[in-house]
């Protein structure tokens, strides 16, 4: 069934098709349509779930943690300051190994106030023990929301999926809504191996001393290490059942490329168009979409970029005092390559606080990357008026 829907409603449809059992959320622009749509679905009975309308995002994450620990499928959505307010409990969900799924509508962080998109909110949650998946379009949002539960419950790790505020959250696109019966086969009811159960009482999350804490972090790390392979297997199933898959990274027209653009989120679609134009003009330019940021898909990135002379990373985020965050991680992943095969990595910071990244901006990025043999600084700011 095809429906035209905005990204926020795509999230809600994904949660509904995944048959989430407990939702808890707090409204924040530009996430509000997610909770509005889910409220309607709960009210009209199309989604049999309890929706806990809490007084803060900190409590929203706490509530889904409680629900998930009791063994049900739990979901929340937030954005920007809401996600930052959850930070403590994001760590708790990660450490407690609870398969919660969260949709974050990427929005810039204050001060000063800004409601438009950039990725600093979610990238600030890098070390909380959550898988991070950045979506490009609304079909990918629906599909990823459902697959996120499968991934989370396979490895007992929480998963957050991201969509750009307004550019995706409020943009309507045609979406092929997966068939419920097929989704049910793909994602059966959650069977929690450990849960709060009066028949089998256990204590969860109590004090662990130095003799065992590190082993628990090791187990968490091992689960994270399994994510790429598990996600690939899940996507294979999804491809077989629904005819679509996305990958942790996607190489687009990178064969024999002299320059590869690296993107995440909606700017990927713009970059695709630019790459098509350039290819039509005979230029050897390609694109690498990085969908998964945590765990960082280092092996896939190395495979995709080995031997490429020049890489231009488009970061809609910045780590003040360092540079674009995807660029940093990408440089780290490429460091082990032999020098002759290691690309020059140009890190571009652009599009902060919702500033549009147009084809002309990407043309500028390409021109700057081509002009220099090697980058003269870690972060090259595009379109900024100092």
């Amino acid at each position: 069934m095809k429906k035209v829907m905005v990204g926020n409603h795509a999230v809600a449809w994904g949660a509904r098709l995944a048959r989430v059992e407990v939702i808890s959320a707090y409204p924040i622009t530009p996430q509000t349509q997610v909770v509005e749509k889910l409220s309607e679905m709960c009210a009209d009975g199309t989604l049999a779930a309890r929706f806990i309308k809490v007084e803060s995002e900190h409590s929203a994450m706490a509530a889904v943690i409680g629900a998930s620990a009791t063994g049900v499928r739990a979901f929340t959505a937030s954005s920007s300051h809401g996600l930052l307010y959850m930070h403590e409990m994001l760590h708790w969900a990660g450490g407690a190994r609870l398969p919660v799924v969260l949709a974050n509508i990427n929005r810039a962080v204050g001060a000063p106030w800004n409601i438009w998109t950039d990725q600093n909110d979610s990238l600030a949650q890098r070390d909380t023990g959550w898988v991070q998946l950045y979506c490009e379009h609304n079909q990918e949002v629906v599909d990823t929301t459902i697959m996120a539960f499968k991934l989370a419950e396979s490895l007992n790790v929480p998963v957050m999926l991201m969509l750009d505020g307004f550019y995706l959250s409020h943009t309507a696109e045609a979406v092929d809504v997966p068939d419920q019966e097929m989704v049910d086969r793909f994602l059966p009811k959650r069977e929690a191996p450990y849960r709060l159960d009066v028949e089998r009482p256990h204590a969860f999350g109590g004090l662990v001393k130095p003799d065992a804490y590190m082993e628990m972090r090791w187990m968490q790390q091992e689960a994270m290490r399994e994510v790429p392979e598990t996600l690939a297997a899940i996507e294979t199933d999804w491809q077989r059942m629904f005819g679509r898959s996305y990958g942790a990274v996607e190489s687009y027209r990178t064969e024999d490329a002299e320059l590869v653009l690296v993107t995440s989120g909606t700017v990927t679609s713009t970059a695709r168009a630019v790459v098509d134009q350039r290819r039509a003009a005979g230029e050897r330019i390609g694109l690498l979409k990085v969908k998964m940021f945590r765990p960082f898909p280092s092996a896939q990135v190395r495979e995709a970029l080995t031997g490429v002379p020049c890489v231009a990373v488009l970061d809609r985020n910045v780590s003040p005092g360092h540079g674009g965050i995807f660029a940093e991680e990408l440089r780290s992943a490429l460091y082990d390559l032999p020098h002759a095969e290691r690309p020059e990595v140009f890190g571009f910071v652009l599009g902060l606080g919702g500033r549009d990244i147009t084809p002309a901006v990407i043309d500028d990025v390409i021109a700057q990357a081509r002009a220099g043999k090697a980058p003269t600084r870690e972060d090259i700011w595009v379109g900024v008026n100092p």
Partner: protein, 302 residues
């Protein structure tokens, strides 16, 4: 006075085992034992950061024989809301969800989440065991610390300057089905309140005065006696409030002077006679206000 055998009055479930890590004389494990005796084994306990995080025992041990979920400081009522929702989805509406939190987690950092849960009338039981300061971190003042008390952050030369926050009034103002004060020093009263709460639905709140010998600077064997003195001197009256309107005293209060209660605790030792008089005047004024409130909001006779 006739002797009462507590064991005859309170069902014994042994849901709190020996070997817990409370300080000598701590009333919190007794409180937990009484609460779980009344609630029974079909209970899930949520423990935000508080003394009981330690008392219940480090991994892989637990002194509680019911499921326990440890969680961050401010999140007890929210985690409990999630557990409740999940239990309801699983068709287990009769499983009790007990949030067991200290005064810091209730009066201070957890108040927002508690207010949210109470406003939603979440079907949970919340016990604040109040030892009147951040005892687990080494006796720092909280908004439950009484006026004039010494703590490590309110040294005797500059003791606590604010009166204790009226948490029962705050909770009653939410109009929840049940709010009460209690203390393990009056175990029958406490168990009756938990039993009454258990039979109700919605947010049920019990403010439990829980003596802390290291923090109150009293002997290990003095805590429960001090709690009874707190009640009888009307420092901590025994109350219950239904639906935020029907206020009731649950026992006789002798109206003993507060001075002996204060003088037996090192945390008040620096107080002058004048300051003790000030405490007494405040207790008396509060008691008068309470009686007026009880009278004003008494159920109309049919």
């Amino acid at each position: 006075m006739s002797q009462i055998r507590i064991g005859d009055l309170i069902p014994e479930n042994q849901l709190v085992t020996s070997g817990h890590l409370a300080c000598p004389g701590c009333a919190a494990p007794l409180g937990m034992k009484l609460a779980l005796n009344a609630l029974g084994p079909e209970t899930i306990v949520v423990l935000p950061a508080c003394c009981f995080t330690i008392i219940s025992g480090p991994w892989p041990q637990s002194s509680l024989q019911v499921p326990v979920f440890h969680t961050a400081f401010a999140t007890g009522p929210a985690v409990a809301s999630g557990i409740r929702a999940a239990l309801d989805m699983q068709g287990k509406p009769d499983t009790n969800v007990l949030v067991w939190v200290g005064d810091g987690g209730t009066f201070d950092i957890g108040l927002q989440a508690l207010s949210g849960a109470a406003e939603r009338n979440e079907n949970i039981i919340y016990v604040c065991y109040d030892n009147e300061a951040y005892m687990n971190t080494g006796i720092q003042r909280s908004s439950a610390t009484p006026w004039g008390a010494w703590t490590t952050t309110t040294p005797a030369r500059f003791p606590e300057a604010s009166p204790k926050k009226d948490i029962l009034g705050i909770m009653a103002a939410h109009g929840i089905p049940y709010a009460a004060t209690a203390t393990p020093a009056y175990p029958v009263d406490f168990v009756e309140k938990v039993t009454k709460a258990k039979a109700m639905r919605g947010t049920r709140f019990i403010h439990l005065l829980s003596p802390c010998p290291p923090g109150w600077k009293c002997g290990d064997d003095e805590g429960l006696e001090l709690a009874r003195m707190a009640v009888q001197s009307r420092v901590f009256p025994m109350l219950e409030v239904e639906w935020g309107t029907r206020w009731r005293l649950t026992m006789e209060h002798a109206g003993d002077p507060a001075e002996p209660y204060l003088k037996r605790q090192g945390r008040f030792r620096h107080m002058t006679a004048e300051q003790m008089g000030q405490v007494q005047r405040e207790i008396d004024a509060r008691w008068e206000r309470l009686l007026r409130r009880i009278e004003a909001e008494a159920p109309a006779s049919v």
